[in-house]
Point group: D2
């Protein structure tokens, strides 16, 4: 962290500030220029109250040059993290992971059929929404506990691990009882800090979606919340960001995959279904995500998209999914990955 001191500041004020900073555990290097003085802070600056420093009348600017996160940071943890699910499935490392399934859990038959199909085609994890965050209070809100059970039963029969979204901490017990393999935090809850803290107290793998307009730094800070609670099993998921462009529902940001890989050791997957909201865009962008370096993808598959209770227009059909898996099998070795 660098603190730029205004021209003409009295030496005493500066010294008082330096003293204060030192008591907060950092070293201070002073660089006096003709007009401005720079204080370079060395050490762990993540606990410095930046806002306080900024509000001092003799401080011109506060510039952070180190990331504000440590547990999620590659600088402190150079090796790639591989998250291992209860059944041994690994996410990250050389492995490519495909998570697939319907937007929302609807019927036992649907789940059984899809689970069998997923398994046969080679998906590693089954997704399905039981608790659905919907923009409108009048839209279908998911089958809740019943849906969660349907999903888990169908997946278990096929020995598929399950990923599904939690919307509030008070449902955590139900998720743990049902032995959900990966608990998803949705984009709208990325900064629901109470929920982050709650899942941080478990050791369950957490799929943390990027917020609608979250910067990469804020996203990694959300991961840090979970990790600060003691849970190192975080998987990131890029799912499109909000921009001015309205052709797609969101704008898929594949450069974020590269950024995350450089800044952090955590695995990252990509969800092209929610990113675009358009079925016909999903396969091409899923492949592009893998080539860009993602550790996997998450796609919505529905046996009958036009009958889906939610997000039908972005769900691919089982046939499209089979084709996509074939393409990914061709791409994996070229990318030095295993599927």
């Amino acid at each position: 962290m660098i603190i730029v001191i205004k021209e003409g500041t009295e030496a005493e004020k500066m010294e008082a500030l330096q003293e204060e900073l030192r008591t907060q555990g950092v070293e201070v290097d002073v660089s006096r220029g003709k007009r401005k003085t720079l204080l370079g802070l060395i050490g762990n600056t993540s606990r410095i109250n930046q806002s306080h420093v900024k509000s001092l009348d003799f401080v011109e600017q506060v510039i952070r040059i180190d990331e504000p996160y440590t547990r999620a940071s590659r600088a402190f943890h150079p090796e790639d993290t591989v998250v291992t699910l209860a059944n041994g499935t690994q996410i990250g490392g050389k492995k490519l992971t495909v998570m697939a399934g319907p937007c929302s859990v609807e019927t036992p038959e649907q789940m059984t059929t899809l689970a069998a199909h997923m398994r046969k085609t080679g998906a590693a994890v089954m997704r399905g929404g039981a608790f659905k965050p919907r923009t409108s209070p009048y839209s279908f809100q998911g089958l809740k506990e019943t849906g969660l059970e349907m999903l888990c039963r169908a997946a278990r029969k096929e020995k598929l691990p399950v990923v599904t979204e939690i919307m509030s901490a008070d449902k955590l017990d139900v998720f743990l009882q049902q032995e959900v393999d990966i608990i998803q935090i949705g984009a709208r809850n990325m900064q629901n800090f109470e929920l982050l803290r709650a899942v941080g107290k478990t050791r369950k793998p957490i799929l943390l979606k990027r917020g609608l307009s979250a910067t990469i730094e804020e996203w990694l800070m959300a991961a840090e919340y979970i990790m600060a609670g003691g849970n190192p099993n975080v998987i990131l998921c890029e799912r499109g960001i909000r921009t001015y462009e309205t052709y797609t529902r969101n704008t898929l940001d594949l450069s974020a995959v590269l950024a995350v890989k450089r800044q952090s050791h955590l695995p990252i997957i990509v969800d092209p279904s929610h990113a675009t909201g358009k079925r016909w865009m999903v396969p091409a962008l899923a492949k592009a995500a893998i080539v860009a370096g993602a550790d996997g993808i998450m796609v919505e598959v529905h046996n009958n998209p036009s009958e889906a209770l939610c997000d039908g227009e972005e769900s691919i059909t089982p046939d499209m999914f089979d084709e996509l898996m074939q393409s990914l099998r061709q791409l994996a070795p070229i990318c030095g990955r295993e599927l």
Copy 2:
């Protein structure tokens, strides 16, 4: 709602869709053109599953021409809503409301001093954060229950109603016990649907901040969630949106005040402190907000901003606040309002 049917669609498919829509309680007007056919839906379309319709292979486009909200909509409720607090204070209508106080509650002395100052200067509601949503898990997270009590005690002594943020539904009982006058839903929780539902079951006035990148429609849909639960006492708060510009923390969107006033009957206030993150911008933008038509403002005031535990750089001093109140008193009658 208008459904655009693709050229060359068989009559039977279209009829089946019409039939289905009619069973969902809307009338369907058919307009056959040379290339395309339009289905115009008449009636309450807020329960139509748009996503399902969009995913039909013979549907080209689905265009909504009515708002998806009804309780929050001015079309269904032409009169301005005035929210009345427990002590009789009114928000909305001709009244201008100033909510002020520190970003976070720190000490009993601070709260007592500020409450007395607020009261004297004419603020109508005292703000203060006890549960603080912070980007970093290592930042000060607020004094929680203790802070809430400090805030309420100090405000009550001065007969000031209180507004403070709730971060999860499980604290609702504490907020009700402490008789918090206005419960704030923060920007990051605007689409925390479980929390919206929870406060919707009370009859407490709710201050609903606009999400970081929420459209006006999504914001009003969040209000609809609260109102659908039976709580009509919603106050909206514009607090800046996320854009590409980095000079200010967010970009204050004053046109949103006018948009909300046209689309909805709910009162709306403006928070220039969080919008800009810069103390020196607060007074001018607070005044501009009133002139643009806001029903009030919410500003951060701190007795000693450089010692604030949070957001010191955006807090104005008590002296700046006094001056601002004087300006607002000059502006109010010109705007046809009372302060």
Copy 3:
């Protein structure tokens, strides 16, 4: 400018860089920390090739702490600039300036009627588009030279100065011949550097609109282009920026008025017509702009908006304009301004 050097960089490399920087006319302060070394550059850094420095393999980051502009900067020119038009009209300082007129020049009658009305109501400058930048090649492109003449003739009769947009440098002679008082550079041409250079060679007052997604810094750099050519007469115009919100055409950024006033000495006006694209929003936001500190406004006025050849939905009627002028007259003294 601060250059952050990577850990473990050899002393020689750093010294070579320092040497190179010194030959470019800046002083270099070295601050050695435990992990990183900081080079603080003192002096005029606007000519340093940042991109070159960034691409050095031992450089971790380059942080600019001074603005890259000098002529447009308040730091180098603390007094407010007042731009004086040929007829003595002043823009900036204590004066509030209202520029008004139709989006595009259509007929001599229209221009004569409007000019008389503008004059009577107290507008200081008449606007009107003769060369129109239109998104579609099939839309009305303006009356060009003929329109320019109509505008100038009508305005001159009423002794009103004229502001109108130039779209390419090869029309500059026509603008000079017609003695256009203020030459407007439109938002889409804000970084048309050839055009900026061309108008920079004249001494004509230039109204520089903010680009659709220009940062405040880029905007001031565009002003710097004009000023670097020797023309100090630049007036800035905020006209809304592109964001994700679609309710309004653009999002009016009134905090930019305050930012520009702090960073620069140039006058700034606000155009709420293009910012919102909605007639009914114009008066309230025009007033808010003045209260926020703008030196004036530019609004579209049309005698018969529904017959306008362009942008009719955002033009206010002459009656609305009269009312707006009355409101501004009430607000001016409260803001310490003259109208």
Copy 4:
């Protein structure tokens, strides 16, 4: 186009509007609902003055359901366009095209070396900037005519076609004299309509970069400007859009490749260098672009990036370029393309 008429509008007003629209060459289908009436316009609506219709007091909304472009539209031209350069090189169709070279032309030696390298490695087109659009008037502005000549001479020796940027119409003669193979319109000039019109009068292949915050529709409308002048040889280039994220210089929008392919028949290439501003991101995103369906890429290659006079931090080295070409050769057949 659909026009939504307000409730309670007199029949005469509606009929007058219908009459007016019919004289503009479209048919009007009327759909009367209980509350609203819809007018469905059939035929070529690209010349309808939407703004006029919107400003009528009895019109609630105007909804366009057809694109406003025709020449650039796939609906009117279902086959992919293949642009053929003077030397027979084809862009579009099955062919993948790699355009590479330095950001700016610096010395004859640099150009000769790089051209030889490009040729050997298999780039199809050589890029290099002679006229440079720079944010700062104090930055290196390119070698201009001299640079253009250097570029063309070096490329010609290796029989490589050339792509380079034009900044104003008055240089068009120089570009034609030098027989530049592809004339580039930069992002900042995407809506410099005079320049679009000027290149539209030639038959030269035009590389049209997407504007910094241009929607896909605006971008295709800019292409339409060129094509409306009679020049069908337009190649689109996605180069990142402006978003709130600051980690990368811009946000590469690969879904735009798919959108353009569906909406238009024009070839599209991707520039990951300008999109990210980071050398280490370029190869992965170049590959992802091809997999997403782009017809080629444009990358900056510099023999000595840290000595580059411009954008050194985003230029890849010749070695990185060789490796990238090898990867693309592996990917091409999997994507059904030829390199």
